[in-house]
């Protein structure tokens, strides 16, 4: 029982989940497909990590081609669904509305409810032993750790991307503004000087 508990604890950490980070070039669409049974619950979490306005279009289709989820220009979202049909479900990320910014998108596709880590945990006659309840606690905490780490990692990546963009913008615009400043002020003086030079000649001629 102890060994079984530990085995379940370790394997359940990655049950039926796929997480990928992909680069979405501008005006492109990337689709992923997954074969699912009916009566299964799946969750799709996605977040845009960098690029443009940090938004992306996303849609999910069931095996019959019916769109069960569609959102445009979302920065992050989480979508859960209980499947009614057995077949291939498709989800796509689209950057077609953007002409020059390619995006980096992270998504996490989880299938199925997590099985309880002790096989007959819910319908037991006796109470759980200390070791078993310790296993259950560790399992739940580790799940929380995974979620927390992923959340902070994505947020940090996104904020870092924004900060670097800001830094670049500040540098370029500062240099540009300084140049414009010089050009405009020297130009103004030159222009004024050129006005007065001509007028002097014409007013001198009209006077006599």
């Amino acid at each position: 029982v102890r060994a079984l508990c530990l085995a379940a604890l370790l394997s359940a950490l990655g049950a039926g989940a796929t997480e990928l980070t992909l680069e979405l070039p501008d005006s492109a669409q990337r689709c992923f497909h997954q074969e699912l049974e009916s009566g299964v619950k799946f969750t799709l979490d996605y977040q845009v990590i960098s690029g443009g306005h940090y938004d992306v279009d996303c849609y999910v289709e069931d095996p019959n081609g019916k769109t069960i989820y569609q959102e445009t220009k979302k920065q992050y979202d989480s979508f859960s669904h209980h499947t009614e049909l057995k077949g291939v479900y498709t989800f796509c990320f689209s950057n077609e509305f953007s002409t020059f910014s390619h995006k980096i998108v992270y998504f996490d596709f989880q299938v199925g409810d997590e099985p309880p880590i002790l096989p007959d945990m819910n319908n037991r006659v006796t109470a759980l032993t200390q070791l078993e309840s310790a296993c259950v606690t560790i399992h739940e905490m580790l799940n929380a750790v995974i979620d927390s780490q992923t959340h902070y990692r994505l947020r940090e990546a996104q904020d870092h991307s924004r900060a670097e963009e800001l830094n670049g913008r500040v540098s370029y615009w500062s240099v540009g503004e300084t140049l414009i400043l010089f050009v405009v002020s020297i130009g103004q003086v030159m222009l004024l000087k050129s006005f007065f030079t001509e007028k002097r000649v014409s007013s001198g001629g009209a006077g006599t």
Binding site: L6, L10, G16, L20, V111, H160, A163, T178
Partner: protein, 200 residues
């Protein structure tokens, strides 16, 4: 039970894995080719292979091998950062002619240490629990590694933000000084000009 996506015959598609240093990344994939006659994807088309290229954050290619239609690849990250894993088939046919697509099933695992099942099946129950506990400890070490990596990244991020902040301040001061000095020059220059032209 893996996810799959489509790729053109000569196309290359990449995914990004952001991992701390010293982490094992293992990928399982399976390739199927679309058969025009049967209108379905064939199981492991013969002769079809997949180039898997892994680029480290410094731009160096750490893995570039040709695998068969089905396989497992793995690499250990030396540097922490974004590793780019790219897939391209070794098909020599042009996509235009065949109109063919490939279906790639993919499953990537980061940082998992695989349990040596034979050691676990040992008759000794105490040893079995011991082995599993070791595995658990390794996984918790991976959690710690990820956290250290996160700390590194946050430091870089904070440096970028502080640099931006001081950049803005410095440039604002410089521009104000330039504005004032150029303004003074303008007035002086115009005054001298008017005096020389005997307008004032």
């Amino acid at each position: 039970l893996a996810l799959y996506f489509h790729i053109g015959e000569r196309e290359e598609k990449c995914i990004i894995e952001d991992t701390p240093s010293d982490t094992l990344v293992v990928g399982n994939y399976k390739v199927q080719r679309w058969d025009i006659h049967k209108h379905d994807f064939l199981e492991s088309a013969p002769g079809l292979g997949m180039f898997v290229t892994v680029t480290s954050p410094s731009g160096e290619v750490i893995l570039s091998k040709l695998y068969g239609p089905q396989g497992t690849f793995s690499f250990t990250s030396y540097l922490s950062g974004e590793h780019i894993i790219c897939f391209q088939s070794n098909s020599t046919r042009f996509a235009v002619i065949a109109g063919s697509r490939l279906r790639i099933h993919l499953d990537i695992r980061v940082g998992e240490h695989f349990l040596d099942e034979s050691a676990v099946q040992a008759k000794d129950k105490v040893n079995e629990v011991h082995v599993r506990l070791q595995h658990l400890i390794e996984q918790i070490h991976h959690v710690t590694k990820e956290q250290d990596y996160e700390r590194e990244r946050e430091e870089k991020f904070r440096k970028t933000s502080e640099e931006t902040n001081s950049n803005i301040l410095w440039w604002a001061i410089v521009q104000t000084l330039i504005l004032i000095s150029v303004g003074i020059w303008q007035i002086k220059s115009l005054r001298d000009f008017f005096i020389s032209k005997k307008l004032v």
